[in-house]
Subunit: 407 residues, 4 copies
Amino acid sequence: MITVKDSVHDHIEVEGVAAALLDTREVQRLRHIKQLGTVQLVYPSANHTRFEHSLGVYHLANRALSHLGIEGSLAERLRAAALLHDVGHGPYSHNIEALTYRHTGKYHDDVAELLARGEVGEVLREHDLDPAAVAGLVAGEGQYGQLVSGELDVDRMDYLVRDAHHTGVPYGTIDTGRLVRELTFVDGELVLDEGNVQTAESLLLARALMNPTVYQHHVARISKAMLRRAAERLLGEPDISASQIRRMDDHDLLASLRMTPSTAEFAHRLDRRDLYKRGVWAELDDVPQYVLDAPHEELREVEREVAEQTGVDPGEVIIDVPAEPSMKESSSRVVVNGDVRQLDRQSPLVSALRTAQRQQWRLGVYAPADAADRVGETAVDVLGLDIEGALVNYVRTGQRTTLDQFD
Amino acid sequence: MITVKDSVHDHIEVEGVAAALLDTREVQRLRHIKQLGTVQLVYPSANHTRFEHSLGVYHLANRALSHLGIEGSLAERLRAAALLHDVGHGPYSHNIEALTYRHTGKYHDDVAELLARGEVGEVLREHDLDPAAVAGLVAGEGQYGQLVSGELDVDRMDYLVRDAHHTGVPYGTIDTGRLVRELTFVDGELVLDEGNVQTAESLLLARALMNPTVYQHHVARISKAMLRRAAERLLGEPDISASQIRRMDDHDLLASLRMTPSTAEFAHRLDRRDLYKRGVWAELDDVPQYVLDAPHEELREVEREVAEQTGVDPGEVIIDVPAEPSMKESSSRVVVNGDVRQLDRQSPLVSALRTAQRQQWRLGVYAPADAADRVGETAVDVLGLDIEGALVNYVRTGQRTTLDQFD
Amino acid sequence: MITVKDSVHDHIEVEGVAAALLDTREVQRLRHIKQLGTVQLVYPSANHTRFEHSLGVYHLANRALSHLGIEGSLAERLRAAALLHDVGHGPYSHNIEALTYRHTGKYHDDVAELLARGEVGEVLREHDLDPAAVAGLVAGEGQYGQLVSGELDVDRMDYLVRDAHHTGVPYGTIDTGRLVRELTFVDGELVLDEGNVQTAESLLLARALMNPTVYQHHVARISKAMLRRAAERLLGEPDISASQIRRMDDHDLLASLRMTPSTAEFAHRLDRRDLYKRGVWAELDDVPQYVLDAPHEELREVEREVAEQTGVDPGEVIIDVPAEPSMKESSSRVVVNGDVRQLDRQSPLVSALRTAQRQQWRLGVYAPADAADRVGETAVDVLGLDIEGALVNYVRTGQRTTLDQFD
Amino acid sequence: MITVKDSVHDHIEVEGVAAALLDTREVQRLRHIKQLGTVQLVYPSANHTRFEHSLGVYHLANRALSHLGIEGSLAERLRAAALLHDVGHGPYSHNIEALTYRHTGKYHDDVAELLARGEVGEVLREHDLDPAAVAGLVAGEGQYGQLVSGELDVDRMDYLVRDAHHTGVPYGTIDTGRLVRELTFVDGELVLDEGNVQTAESLLLARALMNPTVYQHHVARISKAMLRRAAERLLGEPDISASQIRRMDDHDLLASLRMTPSTAEFAHRLDRRDLYKRGVWAELDDVPQYVLDAPHEELREVEREVAEQTGVDPGEVIIDVPAEPSMKESSSRVVVNGDVRQLDRQSPLVSALRTAQRQQWRLGVYAPADAADRVGETAVDVLGLDIEGALVNYVRTGQRTTLDQFD
């Protein structure tokens, strides 16, 4: 058994197959991938990594296993899945994931392949565990996969408290001790036991507050969009493939971006926190459906058109259209007066949070500060946005200029 | 200036009139009144007092004053009001407040009198402050009273984080630093500045989760009802008046209850955590309107009738009908795109929380454990509750008996 | 199993005999005894109780048992001893302990009797545990008693972190997780395993900093001395015995002191934080040996003489002579390069801390503020103190008057 | 004014020249330099950066300035110095500092040049601040330089609490609030005011416990030595200079090490946490003076000789001889009974800590795991170590293998 000191859960005892997996190349690589990518440009302390998060997820899974009385080979598979659930992540985590997978196969096929091969595959086989079965758990398959990836999974529990600890934003402080204690299986479904409607709600509420404040903070979104744009160009270079990028860590990617002429400018801007500004920041109701449905290439085309009309360099206009909001936790299940109920049937908060998420949704158009104005106006035209609603040339006025949180 | 070390806000610098008020009899008395009364029977660490809370409220008020640029005599009045806002509390805080005021005048008249007289009045006058003006601020009157008692007051901010720190329940961890920074006045209204919809929501959500988990936990409610019953009897004794009780601190009240024959049994049960159990735990929809509207004396009458029918001692049946839920924070105001908006117009969460609060509302009928069953059944009849909905003889079955949180 | 939420250790799982002991009268009584007595007059948030501390000690003991692989009946005895280790405490904990035991038998005989009788005795016997054996563990007897009361006991570990959490003074933040993990038995001695010299030192250092800052803060000492003086007078009343006082809780004692004419003045002063001031604050080297050795009654005689000479009421002069410092942790044992070594042989810090403790030691003479001056001068004469060294009429000058920490 | 959210100090308000300096290239670069370098291989959460630390140092300096009543141009110089105090750091902070400066000029000359040129120099001049004066403060010169770099500087205060927060090791939890409040100038010396002997001691004690547990943990030392060795080789490559390395950030250095054939093996080992092991771990008394005094090149020579004798590749033997311990805080000053005293004259702990530091000092010889044994034995001979004392081939036996803290 290995004991690791963690800033969030204090001592983590790594047992069984997890201890053997810890020093594999694939797991150690996670030390070099920040948990929150460019959020660090908004919250300077948010430098924690996928490695410590993976340890935390393992820890909560292990405690849940002990409360659920799961032992033996199933427990080992789950421990492995918890520790390995993020090994498929590329550099800067989710920031450029869509990009690298647009060019190659599916994420979960990739993870399955990763677990089957290399050092991780070796360790799993040495412990008589089937890599495909572990990959299935990582993908949330079957009754027990819910624990690793589902509405009540330990992944979410760890990241909420960890991101709160490292950003300093207190909204993610859920009660992980209670959550892992109250998990139980009813008819093959992972549910929270009697008396835990608020416990389930607290998970949703924590995410609902962390989302706009941290994960979708506009500065994080702008810098993420810039990073994605740079990675896209990198991908356009000869001799570099999507799967190569996906296997990089943060250092490799940053170094590549700095050294490649076509991306150096973006790298330089990100290094300097010299970011694009918002020319458009439009609410969901003001965006026509065809914009929401537009395929990636079409939006790139619109960007080029706007750039041309406004006389900025092509590539300096970024249209950022997030997916429409979803809320996985809303279908989490809780026992109420002896019956298993889906949270969105029990709690009026769920549909309110859905509405709130739609309200918070924003389409952004970003460009260098001196062009944001005219780029915004032109983009409103070209995209056919409701011009009243779209906050063109969004610049906060007033005496306060705040660097990080509010800028 | 006096510096005090606080477990929540670290060093608190007590300035001006507040420093002079600190050692008055009325403020020092708050050292002996627990902030959360009988909640300590559920959360054993919840032993913090109104004194430290008052210091915390003063501290947040003082920081808000500095961000708002309020100085001079107005600032002094507000500092005094913040520190003094709870001096009117009786023993066990809110637990028996309704009782003592049923028998005497109004709470705010009482506070006004308290501030005008005694050592507090003396100090206020020495600092050229009008006690009546300070009492007005405590009551939330005028533009600046909102800071002390209003939808966005510093009272709420302090108690949420303080109660979280001392119970160990993390849901109250709001961002007080951001809240006091973002307060501003627009047209005489205290509002949160641009970009703080979530900040405002977080206050509501924190309360929405702390309420059922801490403040309205059924064990806290049962013990509070028992304490109130005991205090009611004490009040029935010759030589003791409501205003005497109201000036007691926790020690005086407990000692009196222990020594008075008619209340000794209740005192003994509270000391021993040997509490009544729930015979009825009914949802709002299952309770007829006339029960909700019934005056105090009528419910006492019903209790006596149920006691008689079930053969328990009169006084051993307690019917606990909480007020219908309200949500003061829902009308708090936030600046959105330059306009001041009321939160319940802006945030879909507000009405959802209102619905959730109604769902959480429960009428309770309590009695000694061995009689809870038959008392519950009889009470359902007598009160005319919807028998299916009313959870008669609520006893959680199953192997887990949890002492404090869930019992 | 019972789960309790604690502000320090989060969820505490109370198992076996401990769960049955929890609701006994003797253990519940600890809810009404503050952990730090009059320290609350210096650190207003220090209102935690012996009850939550006892739960914490039980929790750390239980975790240590699991790491040490101790099970069965021995484990049950140790769990009982951990939870019960403080049931012998009188009101205000250590503050008046010396007093009540001066008048009756020994502390440990008393505890043994307490455990054998009443509800605790009943529960222990129901669980086939010998009360005398449990009392032995509480007294630190035998190999396993070291865990409950010894150089490396879990009592100390809990109170250091708990007192830090509640006072806000960060010095007590030891690594309890590491401590309980690294405990092991070598030849019947409880020791810290290899690599833990700093872990052992950290325990000493935490106490060395908490002592002068919290436990021996002069305001805590003055108020404790006043409380002791009041309790002494109470004991002089007809119809009240030392063993009655010892069975009181904080409420009973405060109420008695307020109601008894001879003690009402002290009670009033403590309630108001209207405390005596220091007339003498003398270092160890300046105090003649015969003063250090003087029996209790002789010091009372000196007090009366000083009072007479200075014209203050007898009883208003308090001479406070603490015991000479000891340092239990100094003989704790650590494995170093495979050998068990006593910490004071291994660590140069131990003897330095001993010296530091002697430096911090102070004899105090206290009196009402307006008499402190002349009482101090007279006491220096009568006690034969080195007048240069003794800081007569200690009043901090300067513009800063700090209420709590430094006053 | 800019407000930044920090995980340690919550909201930091960046004022005046500091706000203008924040977005300079030199300060933003610190975002990419980890505060604790390779300590992250022992404590996985220790990923915080020099950027957030610099903000923290600025914050404490600014609070101290306000307590000390320092305003105007002097305050601006001090704010600048606090924020800029680490801009001279190379990649991996102190880890390879000695190396890069061995090859070039002095650290402080370099800092002076950095502050005079580039964007920082521009901002300073725009604010009418003399870069040389700011550089002087960074170097600790003059009365006010003590605040930035001295026995009681805010640098130390920030890193102790920050490193505790991020490693999870609680020993660094000093009371920064009290420290900044109690600083004062007496006759041009920065001292702690009356009543703060323990406050001063706490700074020393925190470092004394953090040192062996965190900063000098042997795994951190081994990996740091490997990193230094790799950087040394990089420096041997054509086309790369010491000053180039010094201006890199962590990403650049890691990427360079990975891509350069002569250093790829070290980079790979560090990435994989596949570290060298200790062949020798010798105490100070067992090391001859001439080894302690040996110049850098001579030790390199010994390494080559040991490698040759044991048949391992040259460069795979690392002899790690730390400087003899010093303790800057020991001469910090405290007011005691009205006099300024140097802490080592006042506190017996200081010399004990000096002794303890000498006891903790270790010379290490490291090599790949399979060669550590014979390399250790040979090195003992060649270095002339006292063979009994030198713990040759240090391998902890026993069932427990702990990954991070203890391995």
